[in-house]
Structures are given as structure tokens and as C-alpha cells.
């Protein structure tokens, strides 16, 4: 991008702008004379609101009285006209294009080497809708959208405190994506914010199109199975994280916010937990822990016990399994891998296909293929039951689904080759990996290990809101 200052000659400047833009059709250049000075208003088609630009810029600007020169004109506009609240100065073509492409209108004039920009954004965007991924019964039904300023306003509406800081900046050499770093300045240590900013300074990507492009920069570089940063598409959830002393990163064009740091136990917490009575919230939470373990381990335990440790089953169950498995032509490991692979293929098809077709695929695969596989004897009923239970368990904690999916396969192989011994060894390696996951000195496994008694009140249990009020928790308590 051109770093040079704006040319004072209007014709030369417009020529230069056309050259840089390569004659792009969506760049609109409106030339006019106001106050006796030749001017041009530049904007990007589809990025500005026509009604706003007419009402706030064209109407007042055409009424400007005769001016001595361009400096007088710009001084008059700045001092006498309001036009728009967002009015950055433009001194080079780099800034000019960044602003135009962000929905600003830029006014340049003959004989002056800078321009005035006016925020008149009016591009079409998706409205605030219910989040698709983080289901909630008792909480708000608003989710983030693709527009960063809408998302910022959603957070601000919920946290009106002046302590909430939102730092807007752009990253991406080509995309110039707007990013917003949000934090409560009285809750987050300055040193942590400095470290996050330093990490973001390393971003030299050409385009930032998803949160996944940024997360590696704010995560520990070592091999980690689980993410030490989280994402949320709910403004209410993000606000609760900010109050707990976390930082968040909003990305323009993405309806998700990155939360820094993330803890393992947070994957099992939802906003609904705080809407229900504590005893029910605790029940649901433990149900999720059990579901997670079942999702990862149930098929592998089935495989290991049936293949190597049948003495651990009672006689009725043993006979039932023998009866079912002797009809199946494949080995138990192959059979379970086959069933899980089938499920993953069906799931992926359901996700990628258009919604109406995706639903049909799920019905066809679930009812027809599943039924046919069992009736033909290709897959045994107990194995299918175990797999279905495991898959359902994984859906209870959707945030951990990628990890659960892969670990389930690896554990089946370990159980199939080395029995319970193999599962135990792999469990050790996974446990050490989880415990090694750490972001900016915040251990992913806190408050379980390192053990923090105070933190267990919202991990193993869900204490009452009155107790939480007196606790005034911030994630800094977990810092090591």
C-alpha cells in the first residue's frame, strides 16, 4: 500500500487514487465545488449509507459560503459543521484506502495535502440473532454478529463501567481487519495486557478471516491437545469472563470472541448454571463431567474389556456380549473404528451440506444405515449402543468435540492393542499434556491442579450467588 502523503493537486490525487485502486469499480469519486473550492468525496459502493451521506455530508457541505482557500474550507467544516462524530484526518493513501474500505467517506480538496474522513458506514450485515452453538434456556438470546462495532456495543450495553476498555486496531497486511481488545482495566494486570499486545504484534498475516488465525499467536507455542484460549458467541458470557479478569479479542467479520485465558473447567460451565438452583446446577455439571469421560473412554473400555479382560464382566453381561459379537464378522477394534468413522462421515456431511439436505442425511444414515448395519450383522448391537452413548456424551460438551473425537479413536486403538494397560498409559500422556497446557502463566487445569480451594466452589460445586458475590473472584488467583 502507498505510504506517501496526499498530493495537493486534486486532479493528480484522483489520478493517483485511481492508479492505486487499479480502477476498481466500487470506488466512487464524486467531484463538486463548494465554497468556491474544487473537492472530491470518495467512498466505497455498498459500504456507506446513501441516506446518511446525503443528509450528513452533501446537504451541509453544499451550503458552505465562499472560502479563501482549501485550508479555510476544512477549518470551516471542522469548526462549524458537525457532519459525523467519527472524523479522522487522512494524510496518506494507505489511511485513505483503509478508511474508504471501512465505510468512511473521505473529502479531499484542491491545494491541500490532507483529507477529512466521515464515518457513514452503512453496509448490510446480519442482525443480532440467537447464537447457533451455545444453547441457553434461561439467559439472553442474543449472539455476536459479524460486525465488530455491533459486538462492541453489545458488550458495552451489558457493562456500562468506565473500567471496560476497548482498544480498536487493525491487523492483516491485505485484509486490514479491525480487531478489538477488551478488558476491565481494574481486573487485568497491566503486565498481562502487555504480554497479549506483544503477542499480537507478531501477527503478520495477510488476512484475518477467522478467530483461528489469531489464536495461535495468543496461545502457548508447544503441542497442546486442548485450547488454552476459548471462544464464545454470547456477549453475556463474554461479559462474565471480562469481569473475572480475562481479556477478549473481537475480530471484525467473525461472530465469535476469543477469551484469554481459558480453563478446562469452563468447558463444563454454562450461563444456565447460574440461573438454576445450585443443587440442580451441580447435578448438571457432574453429568457433563461424566459425559465427557464416557465420550472419550467408553468405546475403548468396551473394546479392552471384551478383548482382554472379560473376567471383569458379570456372567449375564458376558454371555450377552459373546452372543452379539460372535455374529459380527469384523474384529471388535475394526468394528468400533468402522462405526465411529461412519458416524464422523455422516456428521461432517450433515454439517457441510445445506441445512434441509443435512437433516435428511442424518435421518437416512441414522435410521437406514444404522438399522441395516445391525440387521445384516456387520455391527453388533452392544457396540453400536456404546458408540451412540459415547457420541451423545461428546455432544454434551460441544466445545471439546474436536479433542473428544480424536482422543476417542486413539483410546480405542490403545485399548484394542494393549487392553486397560494401554488405555492407562495413554491416559497418563493425555493427562500430562492437559496439565502442561498453560497460557500467560494460567494453568489450564486450575483450580483442580494447582489446587485452589476457593475455585472449587464453581468447579466441583456451584455455590450460591450470595457466596459468589462475597468472593469477588478474578482469574489472577490462578496465575503461577
Amino acid at each position: 500500500m502507498e505510504k506517501g502523503g496526499l498530493l495537493p493537486s486534486l486532479d493528480d490525487s484522483i489520478k493517483e487514487i485511481r492508479r492505486i485502486s487499479g480502477g476498481s469499480s466500487d470506488l466512487l469519486i464524486n467531484r463538486f465545488v463548494t465554497g468556491g473550492i474544487h473537492c472530491a468525496l470518495l467512498c466505497c459502493e455498498g459500504m456507506v449509507s446513501t441516506s446518511v451521506i446525503t443528509e450528513l455530508i452533501f446537504e451541509p457541505i453544499t451550503d458552505i459560503p465562499q472560502q479563501k482557500d482549501s485550508h479555510g474550507l476544512f477549518h470551516y467544516i471542522n469548526e462549524q459543521l458537525l457532519l459525523s462524530t467519527d472524523r479522522p484526518a487522512v494524510r496518506d493513501y494507505d489511511t485513505l484506502f483503509r478508511l474508504i474500505n471501512s465505510g468512511f467517506a473521505v473529502l479531499i480538496a484542491e491545494g491541500i495535502s490532507f483529507g477529512l474522513a466521515f464515518g457513514v458506514q452503512g453496509y448490510s450485515s446480519r442482525g443480532v440473532q440467537e447464537p447457533s452453538g451455545e444453547g441457553n434456556v434461561m439467559g439472553a438470546h442474543e449472539g455476536f454478529t459479524e460486525t465488530i462495532r455491533t459486538n462492541m456495543s453489545q458488550i458495552r450495553r451489558r457493562l456500562k463501567s468506565p473500567e471496560l476498555v476497548m482498544e480498536l486496531f487493525a491487523k492483516g497486511k491485505k485484509s486490514h481487519t479491525d480487531l478489538c481488545l477488551c478488558y476491565m482495566k481494574d481486573r487485568v494486570p497491566k503486565s498481562l495486557m502487555e504480554r497479549i499486545r506483544r503477542s499480537l504484534d507478531d501477527v503478520e498475516l495477510e488476512a484475518i478471516l477467522t478467530t483461528g488465525h489469531l489464536r495461535p499467536f495468543v496461545e502457548n507455542g508447544s503441542f497442546e491437545l486442548f485450547d488454552s484460549t476459548g471462544t464464545t458467541e454470547r456477549p453475556d458470557v463474554l461479559c462474565s469472563k471480562l469481569i473475572e479478569g480475562r481479556a477478549a479479542l473481537l475480530v471484525d467479520g467473525v461472530p465469535y470472541a476469543i477469551v484469554i485465558p481459558r480453563l478446562f473447567c469452563e468447558s463444563f460451565q454454562t450461563l444456565d448454571d447460574y440461573a438454576y438452583k445450585p443443587y440442580y446446577a451441580v447435578f448438571i455439571r457432574w453429568l457433563k463431567y461424566a459425559a465427557f469421560l464416557a465420550a472419550v473412554l467408553l468405546p475403548s473400555f468396551y473394546v479392552a474389556i471384551v478383548m482382554y479382560h472379560p473376567e471383569l464382566l458379570n456372567s449375564t453381561l458376558f454371555m450377552l456380549l459373546v452372543e452379539a459379537e460372535k455374529k459380527a464378522p469384523l474384529s471388535i477394534v475394526t468394528e468400533s473404528l468402522f462405526v465411529l468413522l461412519m458416524y464422523e462421515i455422516i456428521r461432517e456431511a450433515g454439517v457441510r451440506l445445506p441445512k434441509p439436505v443435512g437433516g435428511a442425511v442424518s435421518i437416512i444414515s441414522g435410521l437406514i444405515i444404522g438399522d441395516a448395519a445391525v440387521n445384516s450383522g456387520l455391527v453388533s448391537t452392544p457396540l453400536l449402543t456404546m458408540t451412540a452413548l459415547s457420541v451423545l456424551g461428546g455432544l454434551v460438551v460441544p466445545e471439546l468435540n474436536p479433542q473428544v473425537t480424536v482422543l476417542r479413536f486413539v483410546f480405542i486403538i490403545a485399548g484394542g492393542v494393549f487392553g486397560l494397560f494401554g488405555i492407562s498409559l495413554l491416559a497418563c500422556a493425555v493427562l500430562v499434556n492437559i496439565c502442561a497446557t498453560e497460557d500467560y502463566g494460567f494453568p489450564y487445569t486450575a483450580p483442580l491442579s494447582p489446587f485452589k480451594r476457593k475455585g472449587m466452589g464453581d468447579t466441583a460445586l456451584r455455590i450460591g450467588i450470595r457466596e459468589m458475590q462475597s468472593r469477588s473472584f478474578t482469574v489472577e488467583e490462578y496465575h503461577e
Partner: protein
């Protein structure tokens, strides 16, 4: 090396001791419990003297603790192989030396990965593993207690109290690691030692009493009383839950070996600073070699003497100039 907490150090050491208790061979009696408790008391006293003196280990002492870590690692692998008949390990069963090496190799792989992450993650994981292990063992043994005969606890001892103290002292494979790693404990050595020995005494007492109650009647024909007690746990008529024990056994084996490997690698770094790579691999290779040499022998007396030496050498071989780090 990163700093760890007293609970984390206690968990690491406790796992090693519990694994040694799992592999405990021969008969047990109430005197075994007294012996173990007496051993713990003596070790605590020596450890407190070391904690009070503080300081950093001299190079010669570091060499001794390196040899001790390799020896303890060797006895761990040897114990694992010895008990593999009682605890079914598919990769080992009926495959002789190759099966043994495959089992050791698998554990070595996990150990290598664990030690590559550093002491901090392993210590954090050890706390979770120890808590889960104690919880599962609790279930296992609580169900075993349903079939227990408490009159077995008074079964008389035949081998004498001194023998039992030696056996109790031998169940301390983590003492070298305790001395080496205690300098990294944030809360100071004294607190960490008291935590560890108190936890060890409590867990050992519960475990041995339960084992006596469950297997006391068949102690004469029991090779590994703790494993047998776990296998006898039958909470329901036709339902066995000792699969829990199998899992804990393997998990504890990994953490026990990882502790020795990390201790060894740490000491190699101190003794030979120029030796940068393959430290953990070297320790584990030498440890498996040592296990092959030990080959199924319990070496109780040697282990007890080595444990005593580990505690006596510690306060005698610290550098005076070093900062005093006792709690």
C-alpha cells in the same frame, strides 16, 4: 527447573510409595504396619534434619542420588515385571523377555514424553492421578471390606519387628527424588516433608489394615497381598470392579518411573552441564538395564540401606554457602 507446591511433591512421592506397596511381596501382618510406620517416623526425622540444614547438594552427592534414582527406577520396572502375572498386562503375558521389554518400552515412551514437558506439568498431573487413584482405591477397598474378616488383623508375625522395619524402610523409592526436588518447593522443605510423610503414613495404614482384613486368612498363599485384596473386591454378587485397580496400577507405574527419570535427568544436567540432549532417554535406558540386572529380585535389605543412605547423605553433603531454603 520450575517450582512446585508441597502438595505436588507429596503426590509425586506418594504415588511411588503406593506403587511399591502394590508390588509388595510376601505375607503381611500387623507388625508390617508397625514396621512401615516406624520406617516413616525415622525417615521423617532424618528429612527434618536435612530440611533444617538446607542448602544445595554437592556434586558427589548428586552422583550418589543419580545412581540411587537409576537403582530405584530399576527396582520399579523389576517389580512391574514381577507382578505382571497377577495384574494382567496383554503386551507382556506369555511373551517372556520381549513382552517385558515391550511393557517397559511403552512406559518409557510415556515417561519420556512426560519428562519432556518438565516437572511442573508432571507434578500437576500427579496430584490429579493421586487424587483419582486414592478415590478409586477407596471404592475398590471399601467394597473389599464388605467381605473382610477383621479378626485377621491380629494374625501374629513370624519374622520379627526389625525385619518389618527394614521392609517398611525399603518402601521408599522416592526419597532420592524428595531430596533432589525439595529445593524446588515453593512453601519450603519442612512443610513439604511433613505433608508427604503424614499422607504416606495415613494411606499406608489404611491400605495395610484393609489388606490384612481381606487377605489375612489366605496370606500364606498370597504372593502380592495388595493386588489380591483389590482382586477380591466384589461389591455385587457377579460384578468385579478391580478393573479400576488395573488402571491405577498402570498410571502409578508411569508416574513412579517418570519421577525417577526426571530426577536422573535433572542430576545429569547438574553433574554434566555440557550433556544437553538425550538426558531422559539415557536415564531410562540405564534404568531398564538396571531392571534387567535386578531381574525379579526384591532386594529389600539393599533398598532399605540405600533409602537410609539417601537420607543420611542429604544433610551431610549440602553446600554451606548455599542459601538456606528450609521452611
Amino acid at each position: 527447573m520450575n517450582s512446585i507446591s508441597k502438595r505436588q511433591l507429596a503426590a509425586l512421592l506418594l504415588i511411588t510409595d503406593m506403587f511399591e506397596l502394590f508390588c509388595f511381596g510376601g505375607s503381611m501382618s500387623l507388625e508390617t504396619l508397625y514396621g512401615v510406620l516406624a520406617g516413616i517416623a525415622l525417615q521423617l526425622l532424618a528429612a527434618l534434619v536435612f530440611a533444617a540444614k538446607g542448602g544445595e547438594l554437592k556434586k558427589q552427592a548428586a552422583v550418589f542420588y543419580l545412581v540411587y534414582a537409576v537403582f530405584c527406577g530399576g527396582t520399579l520396572f523389576s517389580a512391574l515385571w514381577r507382578t505382571s502375572g497377577a495384574v494382567y498386562i496383554p503386551s507382556e503375558s506369555g511373551k517372556g523377555i520381549w513382552g517385558q521389554l515391550l511393557t517397559a518400552g511403552l512406559i518409557a515412551l510415556v515417561c519420556l514424553y512426560s519428562s519432556s514437558t518438565g516437572i511442573k506439568p508432571v507434578a500437576r498431573a500427579a496430584v490429579i492421578a493421586a487424587a483419582a487413584g486414592i478415590f478409586c482405591l477407596g471404592i475398590d477397598f471399601a467394597s473389599a471390606v464388605l467381605n473382610a474378616d477383621w479378626s485377621n488383623i491380629t494374625v501374629p508375625e513370624r519374622k520379627g519387628f526389625f525385619y518389618e522395619v527394614v521392609r517398611g524402610g525399603a518402601l521408599s523409592g522416592g526419597l532420592g527424588s524428595m531430596v533432589v526436588l525439595s529445593g524446588e518447593v515453593r512453601e519450603g522443605r519442612q512443610k513439604a516433608f511433613v505433608w508427604y510423610f503424614a499422607a504416606k503414613a495415613a494411606v499406608s495404614a489404611v491400605l495395610i489394615l484393609t489388606v490384612l482384613a481381606v487377605t489375612g486368612g489366605i496370606m500364606e498363599i498370597t504372593d502380592f497381598p495388595v493386588i489380591t485384596a483389590a482382586q477380591l473386591s466384589q461389591p455385587f454378587d457377579a460384578q468385579r470392579i478391580d478393573s479400576l485397580f488395573l488402571v491405577i496400577f498402570a498410571v502409578f507405574a508411569v508416574f513412579s518411573a517418570a519421577l525417577q527419570v526426571m530426577t536422573g535427568a535433572y542430576l545429569i544436567k547438574r553433574i554434566f552441564p555440557q550433556f544437553v540432549r538425550w538426558r531422559s532417554s539415557t536415564v531410562i535406558a540405564v534404568t531398564i538395564g538396571a531392571a534387567l540386572l535386578i531381574s525379579g529380585r526384591e532386594l529389600l535389605l539393599i533398598r532399605a540401606c540405600a533409602a537410609a543412605a539417601a537420607l543420611i547423605i542429604a544433610p551431610l553433603s549440602t553446600k554451606r554457602s548455599a542459601a538456606k531454603s528450609s521452611g
